[in-house]
Every structure is written in structure tokens, then in C-alpha cells.
Amino acid sequence: MSSRLSGAFRTRGGPLIVTCIVAGDPSFEESIRISRELIAAGADIIEIVMPFSDPVADGPIIQQAGSRALAAGMNTDLLFDLVREVRRETAIPLLIMTYANIVVRRGIPRFYRDAADAGADGVVVADVPLEEADPFCTAARMAGIDPILFVSQTTSPERMERILAKAGGFVYLVAALGVTGMRDDLSPQAIDLLRRVKQKTTLPVVPGFGISTPEHVRQYADAGADGVIVGSALIRMIGDRGTPMAEQGQGMGDLVRAMKRSAGRG
């Protein structure tokens, strides 16, 4: 495991708050400023989402953020520049999340080398399941990047064992069936799945999808999650037309602080 990721999971006293931003939303410079706000508010890990034109795993909030970023000129070269800039300012783990075609188009080994050179610790590819994972995992490990894989409520026990054997960094637990987006309630199946996965692996287990409120974080903390991934609830605050950027950043910082308190780490 990357030393920054394993270090982060080792030294904690409650689930880590993994905060997501969409690279280049609303602009390259603002992404750097937003990262600073999140780090200042205590974000434990930042997941930088590289937008793709056809994000089938994402709901409207992240879709729209991605469209804004692409319209503002975001591309894969700039993604690595952004990771490099953020890395200059912090020692917390940085993840890249994207879709298969972004990686494939650059060349799978080259993508992971570039990610490592820029200072990323893990890469998550939303549409690469176990069946397609080999070239991605191999290139990741060669570059010293953790290949992060998913388990879902629809993953069979036999399949889960094969995924856990291949996964690195942590296990991304898909906490809601469907796409990313805000949810009111947290599903009992997700809590049940979390308990089952925890029994099967020594890797940290981190739910994501739909985690929107400090109360959700508290429930996952109680169930033993090693971290929680917060995406749409934060990304939603960006691009609220009419709200000054500083206030948007402030709102994101406040949510991270509240979630950290619920995680018992405030």
C-alpha cells in the first residue's frame, strides 16, 4: 500500500473523511483554492475526479460539475498538473477517480506513471470491474499506485473474495445501488455489507455514494467504517451561480468540519 494511504488509515481514531472535488470545476485555479479549503477544514484524503464525457456511474450533480469543468478546458494533462499543485501543499493522500476511456486513451501504463509522478496515491476507475481489472491493477502496482476496487450490494460472496484478493489501498464500498448523488437515508443493506466486508479483509473499507450528512457519517462510524467518501454533497456547493466562490469554499469547509466531529475526530 502507498505509505501515505496506509499511514493515514493507521493513525486515525474514527473514519477518515475522503472529500471529492471535480478537477477544473469551475476552473483550474478554483480547484486549487477549494482543495486548500478542504485541507484547512481537516479533510483526510482528497479524491480528484477527472471528468469524462459519458459518466454512467454519476448522478446529475457530478455530471454537471464534469460538464462545467470540460467546458472550462479541463483535460488529462491539466489533471496531473492539478495533482502536482495540490501535492506541493499537502502530505495527505490524494486519489484520482475517473473512467476507463480516460486511462485507456492515454495508455494504461503511462496514466499510472503520470499519476505517480504527480504525487497521487491511489486511482479509482468507475467502470472497471474485476473482469477488466488486470491491466489496470498491474500498471498501478508497477507505478507504485494503489488500485482501488469496488464491492457492491450485488457482489456475490465468491466474487467478493476474488475482488479482495486483487484490491489495493482500501475497498471502495458502493453504499447505494444506482449513481452518485445525495440521499436522505442510508440503506441498512450498506451497513450490513460493510460488516460482511470487514470480516473478509484487513484492507480498510470505505463506503461512498450518497453520503450527504454528518448523521450518515456517524452511522458509518458506529458500523466500523474506516473512512467515508463525500462527493455530491460537497460538489453541489460549487457552481451555485450567484454565490461568491469564497462562500462556496466556506460552505464546503463547514460540512467537512461537521462530518469530522460526527466521525469522532473533530
Partner: protein
């Protein structure tokens, strides 16, 4: 076998693998079963009107200087080949014990076919359709609603077929347990490209019997249009090992230097909608908007088996522009009294190009994948505007 050479695969979120595994099992066990084949046989012959004729075209043959036949999928119930696949997958849905179907549609032909199959088999049908396509194909929107289906407008992205597939996939991830995604072409993750091909192969099988009966030999050349590629692969499949020249007509739009939908002629390999296949994309892997006058060919991807057949040079793919397609739309209407779908008009245009170098005795078969009623208003407006 989830790949055609290096193309195909299953690039989907983990939550969908459950549904794909379930579908793959159904594809391997239910589809070949006696019971399923009997039911399918009933629906195809009694209900849909198969076999469709293989029409010898006297006027076109005289004009083009070789023997020209049309495979008349335009005469299939619903007016296009899409019903072969829609009935097959709807029946499979019933056998799998699911009650809800979702589908995407571009031209609306697949949406109509899904609505028909759903009505016939008692399944609820929801169809995702890009906002722009809903305007271009208003007649088909009305038909779907008439048939009891719900049409859901898609506002994201380019608001055409590609985005309708994205929305259908998102719906499916959220509802995998009770819903079947009835995909309309030989695209998407495995097993869809194989499953849809198998349901469309009836086109090629009939052609084989019909041409043997009429001519006593196999054809020399066959031509089909390629959007996702289902009517083409259905026609080509039974002939892949025979000495028959195969041609696919892609949507050349404004020409390959401008906006187009000719994925194999002008694209590069990448991953879209669950498959590794040729795409129209930029240097960073962002998929670009395609363009075609025909909504059914307006797609920046193509079925993975076509990518394989293209690399292998087993099938020759050529681009046909919007202007050529409209010209052949009118040509077929006036020469033979058959109004083709704008999609199929691309195949007619490519056939006219190819026919130039043929001998008088050569047999050329065009897959007339659909009829043109849905396009009449659009073409009439174009003619009025003038060139």
C-alpha cells in the same frame, strides 16, 4: 467469450456485473432452449411477419447494371429490423421473470419496437430518448405513447442516442434486480453484442435460403448501413466464412472533415458504453458529438464486432454523406416506389457507388433495414429549403 479479438468486454460499474452475469447465463441456457425457440418462432412468423421478402428490383437492376435485391425489413411489423431484437429480448425478460423493460432510442424505431414487444408480452416499458431526437422523430414519440410506453426525455450531453444510453445504464444500475435493459443494437457490454447479433441473424439466414432458391448461388456483394451495427451484423453473420464481399455504410454526415458519425472510417479505439471499440473521441478520450441526418446512425461508437471485422478487413466500411443519403432516399422512392428509412438510404447510396464496378450477372443485396415514413416530414422540409 466476451471479446471479438481485442474488442468488446465489460466496462461497467461493479453494481451492474450481477445483471450482466445473470443475462449471460440466460443467453447461454434460455435462448438455445426448445421452449424459447418455439415461442420466438411463433412471435417472428405469426406476429412480426417473417420471413420478409427478398425483392428483385427490376428498375434498379437495369439502372445499375447488376442484379439488385432488397431484403425487406421495412415490411416487418413496426417498419424496421429492430423488432427482431426487441421481441427476442422481451421474451427473454419474460423467461427471466422480470416485469420492467427500459430501452434507449435514437430514431425511435427501437423505442417503438420495444413498446410493441412490451405490449405483446405484458411488460412495462420506459424509453429514454434524447430531447433533440424527440423533436426530429416526433411521429415515433407519438407511436410509443400510443403503444402504452413512457418516453423519458434526456437533457444531458448531446441530447441524442449516446446520452439516452447513458441514462438507461444509470437507471439499470439503480434497478438491476427487477429490470431488463433492452439495448437496441450490437453495442454495450458483453453479452449484449452477441445476444443482439443472434436475434438479428434471422435476416442473414433468410437471405441465404431466399437467394439460393432464386439464384441457386450465394450473392457476390451485400451492403447494410451501420449505426451501432445490428442490421448489418444480422445480415453478415451467416456469410462471414463465404466468398461474399461485405460493405457497411457509415454516417458520413457533412463529410469526414466535418461533423459525422462514421466511427470506423474516422475514429480510434476506446471505451464507451461498456465496450472497447472504435469511437469518435478527442486526444484525451472525451467522446465527441456525432452528427448524421439520420437519428439512427447518429452515434459516436459502434458495435465491437464491427471494430474487429474492420481491423481484419473482412468487411469494408465506407462513409455516406447526408446529401448522398437524401439523394438515395429519393432515388429508391422514385425508382422502385419504396420509401426507405434515412438510415437504410445510406446503404442504398453505398450500393449505387459499388454497383459501378460490377458485372451484369453479379448479385448485390441491400439490407433495407426500415421504411421511411418517420423521415418523410424531415426530407420534405429539406427539399423545400433547397440545397
Amino acid at each position: 467469450m466476451s471479446r471479438f479479438g481485442e474488442y468488446g468486454g465489460q466496462f461497467v460499474p461493479e453494481s451492474l456485473m450481477y445483471a450482466l452475469d445473470e443475462l449471460d447465463a440466460a443467453y447461454r441456457t434460455i435462448v438455445p432452449s426448445e421452449e424459447f425457440r418455439e415461442e420466438m418462432g411463433y412471435y417472428l412468423s405469426e406476429y412480426a411477419g417473417r420471413p420478409t421478402p427478398l425483392t428483385f428490383c427490376r428498375n434498379m437492376s437495369a439502372d445499375l447494371g447488376c442484379k439488385v435485391y432488397l431484403k425487406r425489413e421495412d415490411l416487418l411489423h413496426s417498419g424496421a429490423h429492430k423488432l427482431n431484437n426487441a421481441l427476442g429480448q422481451a421474451l427473454l425478460t419474460q423467461f427471466m421473470g422480470k416485469r420492467r423493460i427500459i430501452a434507449e432510442t435514437g430514431a425511435g424505431q427501437h423505442g417503438v419496437a420495444s413498446a410493441i414487444a412490451g405490449a405483446a408480452l405484458g411488460l412495462s416499458v420506459e424509453v429514454y430518448m434524447g430531447e433533440e431526437d424527440m423533436q426530429r422523430q416526433a411521429l415515433n414519440v407519438a407511436r410509443m405513447e400510443m403503444l402504452g410506453a413512457t418516453v423519458i426525455p434526456v437533457h444531458s450531453g448531446s441530447r441524442t442516442l449516446k446520452d439516452a444510453i447513458n441514462e438507461a445504464l444509470r437507471d439499470w444500475v439503480a434497478n438491476v434486480q427487477d429490470t431488463h435493459y433492452l439495448i437496441g443494437s450490437v453495442v454495450g457490454p458483453h453479452p449484449f453484442p452477441s445476444l443482439v447479433r443472434d436475434f438479428q441473424t434471422v435476416i442473414g439466414q433468410e437471405i441465404r435460403e431466399q437467394v439460393m432458391a432464386k439464384e441457386g448461388r450465394l450473392p457476390d456483394v451485400m451492403v447494410a448501413c451501420v449505426g451501432g451495427g445490428s442490421n448489418a451484423i444480422g445480415m453478415f453473420s451467416p456469410f462471414l466464412d463465404d466468398p461474399v464481399e461485405l460493405f457497411g455504410a457509415e454516417a458520413g454526415g457533412e463529410g469526414l472533415a466535418g461533423r459525422h458519425g462514421a466511427t470506423l472510417c474516422g475514429g480510434t479505439p476506446g471505451v464507451l458504453h461498456g465496450s472497447y471499440t472504435y469511437l469518435i473521441q478527442d486526444a484525451f478520450g472525451q467522446v465527441l458529438e456525432s452528427h448524421s441526418i439520420s437519428a439512427g446512425l447518429d452515434y459516436p461508437g459502434v458495435g465491437p464486432e464491427h471494430s474487429f471485422l474492420c481491423d481484419e478487413k473482412r468487411v469494408t466500411y465506407q462513409a455516406v454523406t447526408d446529401t448522398e443519403a437524401v439523394d438515395s432516399f429519393l432515388y429508391l422512392s422514385r425508382t422502385e416506389g419504396i420509401i426507405p428509412a434515412l438510415e437504410s438510404a445510406h446503404a442504398v447510396a453505398l450500393a449505387r457507388r459499388i454497383a459501378r464496378d460490377r458485372e451484369k450477372e453479379d448479385i448485390l443485396i441491400i439490407n433495407l433495414s426500415g421504411r421511411g415514413d418517420k423521415d418523410v416530414a424531415q426530407v420534405a422540409a429539406l427539399i423545400k429549403e433547397g440545397p
